[in-house]
């Protein structure tokens, strides 16, 4: 969540889409994207507050649930990523593969 300006961590607004439950991020256009890379990054406390206030309208409009600001790691030359492992897993999916049927056995 937003911290005092001096130590402000960049944040994005994330939620789950109400009907599907899918993880979504608030974009600069005010829509919701399933891709973290599309997220609008708030770089100051006032930007974060504005982002949260705008996004909250969509909670009331029953588009999203579980709205939260999540911290983003910004490093030179690296694409922004959520700071916590939990949020990276939300953004990128489980770190384990989705179960698949075994490959057919090839008998030689």
């Amino acid at each position: 969540m937003a911290k005092p300006a001096r130590n402000f961590e960049a944040v994005v607004a994330s939620a789950n889409a109400l009907a599907s439950g899918a993880v979504v991020y608030r974009t600069a256009e005010g829509s919701w994207s399933p891709h973290f890379k599309d997220a609008l990054i708030a770089r100051s406390k006032s930007e974060a507050e504005a982002l949260l206030a705008a996004a909250d309208g969509d909670v009331k409009a029953t588009l999203i649930v579980e709205l939260a600001l999540i911290e983003v790691a910004l490093e030179e030359g690296v694409a922004p990523r959520p700071r916590s492992l939990r949020e990276r897993i939300r953004a990128e999916g489980p770190t384990v593969p989705i179960p698949q049927d075994p490959q057919p056995v090839i008998r030689t």
Partner: protein, 551 residues
């Protein structure tokens, strides 16, 4: 198997319809999330990290082929083609859309299934020994009683808003495969020297952040009194259980704070007031429910089981499978088959739709149409002819289901962990995968022998780590995953809570630490027959701690 009566049909249909209306009102905005959350939870719907999760009740872990095919069908059409079998003998779908929920619940109702009481502060789905009605060591089948308790506890108005959730487990064998001593109520069906059936009743066990072993309130309660006695326990709990603190609200805390004697006295007082009245289960009703669980029509078979014997002699892979995954059956010529959902490197407890279909087909063709879900996250065909096992094994190989590791170190219980769960602090599945890869060599696993390894990704202990011979608890330390090892736990009739070995291990270190524990056991065991738990109980924690932290 039990078939729904008119009452069951009606309440499931009514609830499905009611919940469909609630979903519609939520999607239209008529209900807020705060209003909707308790309603969806009453119907087994959680919001997890990536999507909604639907938890479906599988009463005492028993499924017919038709039901398992329906679960496969739902996985295929509404989810990502797989399901996750849980330590409460339930099934969870991880990628369900809220908008699809009413349709899914309607389809489940077609096969007499639902998601009611799989969440919330009520009496949850009753669990039982997964070998019930089949195991050679069984005294009496616990399923009729699990069913009677299910009927009594379903939508019970007095017990729908308890201080906290409430879990009941039933076994009918002295060998406890249902972990009854770590349940809110644990019931052991037994027979006295007059040949009458009754229950030993355990109360106040549980895992979570405050693990407790249950206290035995009575050693022998006549079976027809079981509902009155459970009612008495629930009344004491409902009145005296703490509602001020979620972490102190389970009955285990009440039993701990009151003490065993005072708890017994309070329950006996309530019991005396209601005993012999409406909650006494009438003998004709016991007989009627028992009839649903009559043994299947066993086929004639050669007691020498020539096909089974010949296959073991000819095929070492089959022999190893039969040695680990087949348990003695009460009927000569038959066996109880455990189908491991723990392939090396795979997520424990997951099955794809086609695997579920395959198992349903095998159950229909060879297994009297019956499947069980074990709390150890495997599936069981309780009644198979030993002579059919080679054919079953061949099919399981094709389906990637023939892992011969039942009860071995790679037969790991793991909760979904941080890969799926909003409560988790650390990942469980990748640790399970790496451990199973490290110990993949089946000869090494067999040399290590019986060893229960259980992993939870948070203190809520869905992965039963407290009762693992080796338990692993994932914690978050300043944003890093750490894993604490507990040793010497057991969920069977010799129930014990594992002891914390010492400081936690990083994700990189944990697999090596488990290997150190196992190697220490191998070095110190007196004979190969002395299993890990027996050796730990003889040696204590010191040599393991020394190997982990000093050496």
């Amino acid at each position: 198997m039990y078939r729904y009566d008119e009452f069951d049909h009606r309440f499931v249909m009514e609830r499905t319809k009611e919940f469909a209306g609630q979903v519609t009102r939520r999607l239209s905005g008529e209900l807020s999330e705060e209003q909707f959350r308790p309603l969806r939870l009453m119907n087994g719907v959680y919001l997890q990290l990536h999507a909604y999760m639907l938890r479906i009740a599988i009463p005492y872990g028993t499924l017919s082929s038709r039901q398992l095919r329906k679960l496969a069908d739902i996985a295929r059409r509404y989810d990502r083609d797989y399901g996750h079998f849980t330590t409460r003998q339930n099934l969870q779908f991880n990628w369900i859309k809220l908008a699809d929920m009413p349709a899914i619940l309607a389809e489940l109702a077609e096969v007499e299934m639902h998601a009611i009481q799989t969440s919330g502060n009520c009496i949850r789905n009753v669990t039982a020994d997964h070998f019930a009605g089949a195991a050679a060591d069984e005294i009496a089948d616990p399923r009729p009683w699990a069913e009677i308790i299910r009927q009594w506890s379903s939508l019970h108005p007095e017990f729908s808003f308890l201080p906290r959730k409430f879990k009941v487990a039933v076994t009918g064998a002295a060998k406890d495969r249902a972990a009854i001593q770590v349940h809110d109520i644990g019931l052991e069906l037994k027979r006295n020297d007059k040949g009458e059936n009754g229950f030993a009743v355990w109360v106040g066990g549980g895992q979570g952040r405050t693990p407790m072993i249950a206290k035995k309130l009575t050693d022998f309660l006549p079976e027809s009194d079981i509902l009155a006695y459970c009612d008495a326990i629930l009344r004491v709990y409902n009145l005296e259980g703490r509602r001020d603190n979620k972490y102190k609200a389970r009955i285990k805390i009440l039993v701990h704070e009151m003490g065993e004697e005072e708890m017994r006295a309070a329950v006996e007082k309530e019991f005396a007031a209601i005993r012999g009245k409406t909650l006494t289960v009438p003998a004709p009703e016991i007989a009627r429910i028992n009839a649903y669980f009559a043994p299947p029509a066993y086929q004639l078979c050669d007691p020498a089981t020539p096909v089974f014997v010949a296959a073991q002699a000819a095929d070492s892979q089959f022999r190893m499978f039969a040695e680990r995954n087949v348990t003695p059956h009460k009927q000569p010529g038959y066996g109880v088959l455990t189908i491991s959902l723990k392939p090396v490197g795979g997520p424990p407890g997951d099955a794809t739709s086609s695997q579920m279909d395959r198992i349903a087909d095998l159950a229909e063709r060879y297994g009297h149409d019956e499947i069980r879900v074990s709390h150890e996250q495997n599936l069981v065909l309780p009644h198979v002819r030993l002579d059919d096992l080679p054919a079953i094994h061949a099919s399981l190989i094709e389906g990637g289901l023939a892992t011969a590791n039942a009860g071995l170190i790679t037969d790991i219980i793991a909760c979904p962990g941080l890969d799926y769960c909003t409560l988790a602090n650390a990942r469980s599945i990748p640790v399970a995968q790496r451990i199973s890869e490290r110990f993949a060599d089946i000869a090494r696993q067999r040399d290590i022998g019986d060893l229960k390894l259980k992993i939870s990704g948070c203190i809520n202990a869905c992965g039963h780590h407290h009762v693992g011979h080796i338990g692993i608890l994932g914690v978050d330390r300043k944003g890093e995953e750490f894993y604490q090892i507990t040793l010497g736990g057991s969920g069977d009739e010799t129930c014990a809570i594992g002891e914390i070995a010492g400081r936690g291990f990083s994700s990189d270190e944990i697999v090596g630490a488990v290997e150190t524990v196992v190697d220490t056991y191998l070095k110190l065991r007196q004979t190969p027959q002395e299993d890990f738990l027996a050796a730990y109980r003889r040696l204590g924690s010191a040599p393991f701690q020394e190997a982990l932290y000093v050496a």
